[in-house]
């Protein structure tokens, strides 16, 4: 055991004394999250909205006035029928359309509720979500006011939110799980494959193999520090997502971290696998970049929705290990589900781990012959 700890300690010296490694390990995740964070969480100010008022009464005019004077929205046109909504989005650069039902105030006064439809352009899903939320807030404030000033039965404004072009808001909060997959892959797969091939390249692997250390101790010793570092990264990304993106963690944090750990182990086994085929650090880095990073970014649904891809790429994306991790993280963080709902994806990840570890062990043995 002493041997093993001495080895892990040596690995930490390697990591902490190389400023480039430190940059990739600690500065990059923060930079990534912040870049994505600032790109996405922009302030809503003077967003163009169109009004389709089928009632044109006092109350609807009042509400419209409220919306336009809030500072968040400005008038982008008044529509006469539903047919004009598409054009409003496409040609008038309107971000949201507010639709009042016919006889709005009559409904509100007689039945106690009036329906308002908020239709947002969800091609930019984050903005759409923000706009509808702000709008709902203003409506709720208005509703409270009218209920306070009158003694009659409570009146409800019933906003119904609809998203155009991207009904299920698929890419909202897509970036956090994606960044997490990317960083964990980067730290675990790329850094370990580089650090193992470095020992091969420098000839120190031979010295280590001749020592009483067993091959598996060497490999475990090499990857152990990265398990810890990757988990620190995962936690800091979740924390930053929570504070910068306001991304909720609805499910169990323990389950989430367990899945992160599992994915880290998968990435490490990929790293070990790469190190068995790469001759030097350069090759290891290129395989990690082009074999892992790019497909993760492009194919795992992180940036481009998988449903919109051509069939061959859709099939390819099913093979990408990070895709399954992203699915799990989304389900656990956003839907708050437990292991019962993600066991399939978890099994797929475990299957990948078994596969890559087996192949690596075989390759490693052949190399030793």
């Amino acid at each position: 055991m002493n041997r093993f700890w001495a080895f892990v300690k040596k690995e930490f010296y390697h990591i902490f004394r190389d400023y480039r490694t430190m940059l990739i390990l600690f500065a990059m995740p923060v930079a990534q999250v912040l870049i994505f964070g600032f790109v996405i969480s922009m302030e809503v100010k003077d967003a163009r909205i169109a009004i389709l008022d089928k009632s044109k009464d006092e109350v609807t005019r009042d509400i419209t006035g409220r919306l336009l004077s809030s500072g968040y929205f400005k008038a982008g046109g008044y529509l006469d029928s539903e047919k004009e909504i598409g054009d409003a989005f496409n040609f008038d650069r309107v971000k949201m359309v507010v639709v009042f039902e016919p006889d709005f105030s009559q409904h509100l006064n007689k039945d106690g509720h009036g329906a308002i439809q908020l239709i947002a352009d969800a091609a930019d899903a984050n903005t759409a979500r923000l706009l509808t939320t702000y709008c709902e807030g203003i409506l709720a404030g208005y509703q409270q006011e009218i209920n306070q000033s009158q003694l009659s039965a409570a009146k409800l404004l019933v906003p119904e939110v609809r998203m155009f072009y991207n009904e299920s808001l698929d890419d909202v909060f897509m970036s956090i799980p994606g960044i997490m997959a990317m960083i964990l892959l980067l730290v675990s797969a790329m850094m370990t494959s580089i650090s193992i091939t470095r020992e091969k390249e420098f000839g120190s692997m031979e010295v280590l193999l001749i020592s009483p250390l067993k091959p598996f101790q060497i490999i475990i010793g090499k990857v152990a520090p990265y398990v810890g570092l990757a988990l620190i990264n995962a936690i800091s990304i979740i924390l930053m997502g929570y504070f910068v993106f306001h991304m909720p963690v609805k499910g169990s944090v323990v389950l989430l971290l367990f899945e992160c750990l599992l994915f880290t182990i998968l990435a490490l086994s990929l790293g070990i696998f790469i190190s068995t085929i790469a001759k030097n650090q350069m090759v290891a880095m290129f395989i990690s970049m082009f074999g892992l990073m790019l497909p993760t970014i492009l194919l795992s649904g992180f940036i481009f929705p998988i449903e919109n891809m051509p069939l061959p790429l859709q099939i390819l994306s099913q093979i990408m290990p990070p895709k399954w991790f992203i699915v799990i993280v989304k389900k656990v963080m956003l839907k708050g589900v437990g292991l019962a709902y993600v066991w399939k994806e978890t099994l797929i990840i475990i299957g990948y781990i078994v596969f890559f570890v087996t192949v690596s062990v075989k390759k490693f043995k052949i190399r030793l012959e």
Binding site: N2, R3, W5, A6, F7, K9, K10, Y13, H14, R17, D18, F202, G203, S204, E206, V207, L208, L209, I210, S211, P212, L213, K214, L368, E369
Partner: protein
């Protein structure tokens, strides 16, 4: 002496159709400095890897420090030291950290390590420099230090793979003094080299040609056998 610590009998190593080691038979005694010579590609490295327990022979038998390399490579590894020209010490670790690392993977206790490392560094007049990164010391010092580290756990045999490549003549001489000192303490030294003057320093020398050992004797014996003035001529006569 007369007590063999390396015994190789009819050792064969094949890679597919290529025979890297063709029926090697030799033995090395305790405390002997054994020169293992040969042109590049003659099969030295393959044989050395087998003796170190890194690779197993296709046929034949090799006993190192009393253990069969094929059946008990772990026992062999515990009892040998290894140093190569290609890699000596981790550059981004200090001298002291390197020594502590190697002593730990060879299972030395902290106390024994501290004692031996201190003595060793004082002998090398490097004690004051122990917290310097290895990347900041010269190649000559690095190689001398690496040799000391390779015998820190007092192995029965130390394998040196071209230990003095690229090192200046004065340092090489000092290096060989260290080898002699180790040998006098009973450590067997198994060394490969391309410097023929170094071959003269060995107790016995073997010369490999195309996977076979073509000559094995004391440097004096070899010179007589090939009617040569020095080891350089012996080597050329055999390998040309």
């Amino acid at each position: 002496m007369n007590q063999p610590v390396i015994e190789v009998k009819n050792l064969v190593k094949r890679f597919g159709h290529f025979t890297a080691n063709d029926h090697l038979t030799f033995s090395v005694e305790k405390g002997e400095i054994f020169g293992f010579l040969g042109a590049n590609g003659a099969g030295k490295t393959t044989a050395m890897r087998i003796l170190c327990g890194l690779s197993s022979p296709t046929e034949g038998e090799a006993m190192v420090a009393g253990f069969n390399v094929k059946e008990q490579p772990e026992e062999v590894k515990r009892r040998i030291g290894y140093m190569s020209q290609k890699f000596s010490l981790f550059e981004d670790l200090t001298i002291w950290e390197n020594m502590r690392f190697y002593s730990a993977i060879y299972g030395l206790s902290a106390k024994v390590f501290k004692e031996r490392a201190t003595r060793l560094l004082r002998d090398l007049t490097l004690y004051e420099e122990r917290n310097r990164l290895v990347s900041t010391i010269s190649l000559g010092w690095k190689q001398k230090l690496a040799f000391s580290v390779a015998i820190l756990h007092e192995p029965s045999i130390v394998f040196l793979d071209e230990p003095t490549g690229g090192v200046d003549p004065i340092t090489r001489r000092q290096f060989w003094e260290m080898i002699y000192e180790a040998s006098s303490r009973g450590i067997t030294v198994f060394v490969t080299t391309h410097y023929m003057d170094e071959a003269e320093y060995c107790h016995r020398v073997s010369i490999m040609v195309d996977g076979r050992i073509d000559a094995l004797d004391t440097p004096g014996g070899l010179k007589k056998q090939f009617n040569a003035a020095n080891m350089n001529d012996v080597f050329l006569a055999l390998t040309r």
